[in-house]
Each structure stands twice: as C-alpha cells, then as structure tokens.
Point group: C2
Chain length 276, copies 2
Amino acid sequence: MTSQQLFEQIQAKRSFLCVGLDTDLKKVPQHLLGSDDPIFEFNKAVIDATAPYCVSYKPNLAFYEAAGTKGWNALVKTVKYLRENYPGQFIIADAKRGDIGNTSQMYAKVFFQEMDFDAVTLSPYMGSDTAEPFYAYAGKWAVLLALTSNASAQDFETLSLAGGGMLYEQVIRTSMGWGTEDNTMYVVGATQAQQLGSVRAIVPDHFLLVPGVGAQGGSLEEVARYGMNRKCGLLVNSSRGIIYASNGRDFAEAAGRAAAELQGQMSALLAEYCKG
Amino acid sequence: MTSQQLFEQIQAKRSFLCVGLDTDLKKVPQHLLGSDDPIFEFNKAVIDATAPYCVSYKPNLAFYEAAGTKGWNALVKTVKYLRENYPGQFIIADAKRGDIGNTSQMYAKVFFQEMDFDAVTLSPYMGSDTAEPFYAYAGKWAVLLALTSNASAQDFETLSLAGGGMLYEQVIRTSMGWGTEDNTMYVVGATQAQQLGSVRAIVPDHFLLVPGVGAQGGSLEEVARYGMNRKCGLLVNSSRGIIYASNGRDFAEAAGRAAAELQGQMSALLAEYCKG
C-alpha cells in the first residue's frame, strides 16, 4: 500500500484509527473459551464490529506468542481473515524487532511473505541493518520506534547528543535516508503530543503511528493539533479501550461503539486540521 | 542460575562457548528433511555433539518463527530436550525484544514460565519498562544489547552524548541500576573487541555475551584479552561456524569438531587471562 492509498482510506472512512489487537486469553469473554480457537473468534468478532470505523489493525505479537502455537495459528488466521474480508485495512505486526541483517531477513520473510502484513514495527537501536531487509518488499512498510509512549522513554530516547538534538530526533534524521515516505513510518507516543511538533519539523510528510491514546492517557485532540499534516499523516492506535470495552457477551458491540466514538472525534479533527 | 553457578560450569568445561542455534530449514542437511521435525532433529544432533564443549545454547527466535507453528514447536522441544538432558546449560532466547510493561510481561511469561529459558536478549531503546518484568523471575536473566557486532552499530550505539560518553556506555550505566550481576548481561560484539575495555571499566564484574566470532570476523584472543575478568565474565557465541560446519551426513560430527576446537582455544585463554 502506498501512503496515497492509505490517505484515500482515511478520507473514505473519515478515520485514522488503528485498532490494536492485544488479545489476551485471560481477558477474552468467558463464553468464547469453549470454542476451538477463542483468540481468533474474539478477533473476528471485534474486526467485524470495528472495521467500518478504522483503517488499520495492529496485532501485538507478544500476546500471540504467549499463547504458544495456538496463538501463532490464531494470528495467521486473523491476518488472512482481514485480507480476505477487509482488503483496504493496513495491517501492522507490532513486533518491535531489531536484529542483524541475516536475522532481519528471516523476520521480513515471516511477516511480509508468509503472513502478508503491510508493516512491521522495528526497534532502531542496531541501526540500518535492522531495517534494510524489510525495504526489499515492494509496498511494505517499516515502522520505526522514535519517541515511545511509555514512562521510561526518557531513559535513552530523549538523551541529548553532543552534535545537538535528542536521540529520537537523530534516529529519525538518520533513518530518513533508509527508505521513503511510502515505506517508512515512525512511532511517536500520544503521551508526548507536544513533541510531535519537533518530529513534524524533521519529517513533515511521513506517516506517524501514535499509540498511547486511551489507557495510557494521551489526548487525541493534541495529537491531531501537533501531528496532522495535509494528508493526515497519522494512524492513532487504541487497543484496550476498544477491544476490552466490555468483557461480557456484548464485547463486540461495545468494541464497535468505542471505535465509532473515536471515529466521530477523528472525523471532526480531520475537518479542522487536515486541509488536504 | 547465578553468575557463580555459570562460572562453575565454565571452570568444569574449560569453555565459555555459547552455541547459536540459528537453525534454517534451507541449510539443514537434505537427509533430515524427510523426518517429522527436521528442525528439532537437527538441533538434537548438534546439541548431543557439542554439549561437552559448551556451557550455553542460544536459539535465535527469528529462525523458528520463520518456520511458523512447526518452528515454534521445534523450539519448545529443543528447550525441553536441553533441560532434561543437559541441565547445566545456560539457555538464551535470542529474541531482542523491547516493549512497554504490559507487553514485556507477556514476553517474560513466554520465555521464562512457558519455555523455561534462562535468559532473553532485550533491546534497550524504550528504557527500563522493557526489562523490568523480566527481573520478576528469580534466577532468570536479561541480556541487554549494548554494542552490537553489526556494521550499522555505529548509526546510533556509538553516538556521542552531550553529557559525555557514547550511547552504548550510557545504556550500560543506566541499566546497571535495573538489576544485579546475577540477572543482567550485556551484548558486546567481538568485532568491537577493543571497546570491551571501555565496557569493563563500567561493569568489571558483569557477564558479557559476545557474538561475532567466526562468520562475522571477530578475534577470540582479543575478546579474552580485553573482556575477561577473574570469573571469566564472558560467553562467546558462535552460530554458523559450528552448526553449518558441514551440510552432509556428518553435520553433527563436524559441529562437534568445530566446537571442540573453540573449546581448546578457550581453555588456553582461561589459563592465560582468568586468574580467578
């Protein structure tokens, strides 16, 4: 998918919502646990209820690995289900991988060739080797961690460099040269909304993946004000606030309502800040 | 396992070798491909041949994930086989994970509780949140990336900080406070042997996991000279040089010979540099 195609999805849906599928067997409603594949059944119901209101899904790999081979199977089925039923959705493997070249090659093959994700999140610590093999797949994306939404982001990401600027800014500056606006996004946490301005000064046109709205306390309005560009340029993720909106038999309807509510806010923010 | 117990294994074997199980179906000898589980059969034969000469095994998760659910099953069986047959071996999940707290918790559960690894490699970019949940498991280890063996390590790891020193040094300084010498190791590449001295100045007593000897060109002698302390303090990894020493029917014997050769060199280096 190109950035233009992603923007067209955003315009069509009036939404830049990414639904985080952090599916945890301990939080799946009781009545699903008897089925053959409760993780997939949960995802399928959440997807059917939320797809009209979002443009992207982001399964967090840790949650599937925690369920062993059953979890891995459920992940494969989830991606396949999305591809077959909602082909316009941008599917992100939230894997935060980062390794040397021959290992990154293996990961790229897993996520892009075998599972047909659109994008994978990567930790930039080890440098360009980490990302390069992912760029070999046309139409696929690397989503690089820049300034994350967690409290300890300040341990290293915001360290001041001798050459000026902070580490996360240098990560963006250096990695801009690895790919293009059509295959590179950056993770910038919603809890850091005001720093979105400094990110936009470096990469005015790139898409940013913004977690941290909802359970982590970030403000959607601030994210749009500081981060939106003329082609939106934002995917805002919400996970727990949507998929666990209810833990009863109405979990899918509740997820749909929570997604619809965010979509309504996003539609207004697009009208206000995205003068395309 | 404590660092003292690990040192006792090193003394008993006269070896600080870690065998990297980067098992790739494309490189597994032809005659194994007909078996039900060629990845596990390969690992089992390599382990039986190399166990007398090493103190640690390090499966690289990417290679198992690339083989889908079969790969994941083979990984689970490999760890179980090691635990049951070679209980003194230190088993490292080379996963290079790094995520926010609730996700790291899931990974810690996968690697320490469900699979019984001794240690997991972590990327420090996102700060202490990444590591904290792993420290909740007594006797288990976090192995933090510091200065890696790949060429693009210089993109960010060696950036000079405004407060002095390089990023990787600050990563070590800050993360020293997260754990202890009994649950924290650092990855320092063999291709950076001379910088091992600067690492030792910060963490004289911690264990270091050193990849990059062999296929990547690092020198074992330099690693020992600059990195060894009075309790050895080193695990040196070799992957491709051992497990793919031959791709014929003699692959296991060839792996055993390659491991024995390194063990012989390590025994001499322990005598020279480890005055315990």
